[in-house]
Symmetry: C2
């Protein structure tokens, strides 16, 4: 009987935001790693972050400054629950990796709290609560990590105040390679460096690539996917933050990748490749990072539409 549960743990997967051509609007979940958040009832209203463990322990404990805490405050404001929340965060996603860790904590928190209260919120509502949490980390409301972490798979979000979500099919047999170099990059720094405008010609080029990419996903068109899988707007501005970026990307493409770009704000890079090519893509990317003095973790994963969920 969930209604009487005293504590619930939820898992929310990591995610790759932007996906080269969908800056701030597109992302995909990476189920191989994620954050776990346990939410317990407490008599006093409000939110308390009682523990942070795992890959990062230095998160803000003030709930208004913590993505999970802020998301739960947003949920509390909307639902006015009869209790407060005590929150334990188990980070499985490295901080500052560009893998959507702050989003995952926020998503796992609202999914756990929703189950704890048995409030059965629509996912669109959970999305909004989690987005309020994510804003703590990025200073801006964007959904390209929140939405895939919550819904799972390749996810498009249209709109901010009334976000509409589409789960987009990924051609069968495609794998995502994720390579995380061991360095820290602040999302805020990667955002602040972006020019405030886009050249009209680049705008046309990027929109063509975006439309081609979406269209290719719906039609299993790997040739179009490869032709359109190129970020001509954001990547050129951010790549200097990542040592060896150009060489790593080139190595991935020469090994048969369909596309390779920066995961969110970086420094993690990702590539898509057909299953047969994916291991060599991963090896080539790791080798090239090593040549630039960076050790890495890497994953090669299926693109499955499985989002955040309660752990029984």
């Amino acid at each position: 009987m969930r209604g009487a549960a005293q504590r619930v743990t939820a898992f929310a997967p990591a995610s790759v935001g932007n996906v080269a051509i969908g800056f701030d609007i597109l992302g995909f979940s990476v189920d191989a790693l994620g954050d776990r958040v346990t939410v317990s009832r407490r008599a006093e209203r409000g939110v308390e972050i009682s523990a942070v463990q795992g890959l990062a322990v230095e998160l803000a404990r003030n709930p208004s400054d913590n993505t999970a805490g802020k998301a739960l405050l947003a949920l509390s404001e909307a639902l006015a629950p009869p209790c407060g929340f005590c929150v334990q965060i188990d980070k499985g996603i490295p901080l500052g990796s560009g893998l959507g860790g702050s989003a995952a904590s926020a998503v796992a928190a609202v999914v756990a709290a929703d189950a704890l209260l048995d409030s059965r919120c629509a996912r669109a509502d959970l999305l909004r609560f989690a987005a309020a949490g994510e804003a703590v980390a990025s200073g801006d409301r964007h959904m390209d990590n929140i939405a895939p972490s919550l819904y799972g798979g390749l996810v498009l979000t249209v709109g901010v105040d009334e976000p509409r979500v589409k789960q987009i099919p990924v051609p069968g047999g495609v794998r995502a390679v994720i390579v995380h170099p061991h360095m820290y990059l602040a999302t805020s720094k990667a955002r602040a460096m972006l020019r405030p405008s886009v050249q009209l010609s680049d705008f046309v080029w990027q929109t063509a690539n975006l439309a081609g990419f979406i269209s290719a996903c719906y039609t299993n068109d790997l040739e179009m996917l490869r032709a359109s899988f190129e970020d001509v707007v954001i990547e050129p501005q951010r790549q200097a933050l990542i040592p060896g970026f150009t060489a790593v990307r080139r190595a991935a493409m020469q090994s048969g990748a369909l596309g390779c770009s920066i995961s969110g704000a970086g420094p993690t890079l990702f590539a898509w490749a057909e299953a047969a090519a994916a291991p060599q893509v991963q090896a080539a990317m790791q080798a090239e990072f090593a040549r630039h003095g960076l050790t890495t973790d890497a994953w090669c994963v299926e693109l499955i539409a499985r989002g955040a969920r309660v752990l029984e």
Copy 2:
């Protein structure tokens, strides 16, 4: 036996470029009107424009300055045919209407010449020849009228040097309303007024709308179609060129349109609507133009994937 044909006539439909969210990359054909081009063999190499009739007669007769002529020169350069071409153009699309007339003439010309020579070119090659013609009119190579006129239906083009084309399905039951106010607008003027860059926030908004629109088309999602059918980049800059634009658009939306924007560079406006609402959308748009002193022609058409073809 086509190989021995002495003359071939082809029809190429009008088209609506941009479709609100796909500036320079997206367009749909309007089969209810179009240009007819008759191409005949002549012994002498080269291209001669022998007649122009129909809705416009004042086209350039120098083949290098005429979209059909220039397209045939491009075709001739690639195919080195054993003859030259004599060309008659029958304009069914008003000049300066924003309905892709220059593109249609170029497309009909290459389709007719291809049949005349029995050269059976790939459509991708015909697209390139026609694009070379269209560049005469717009001063730029873009495919958002050429590709739908050639392929038919709602058509995305990715890339310019090696254009890749996707015909995108349109949700069943959707109609296009086309309202052409009786005024002339030079494409070059409408292009020259565009700012050379796009604000990053508008870039994100527009890309979200584009991705939502494409995704909605593939999934028959009329709610998403309506939510994403908004041009926040180009339309605000061009609307001042069209008397009554804001009122006409508002009238269309209040009559149940899914979206309403400028056809190409204007002044024609188009709307999409479900079949039941389309007649009142058309009436409302025409009435509002009339209030602004403009008489109009209008069409309400199905969005069918039927492109240019030889007329037997």
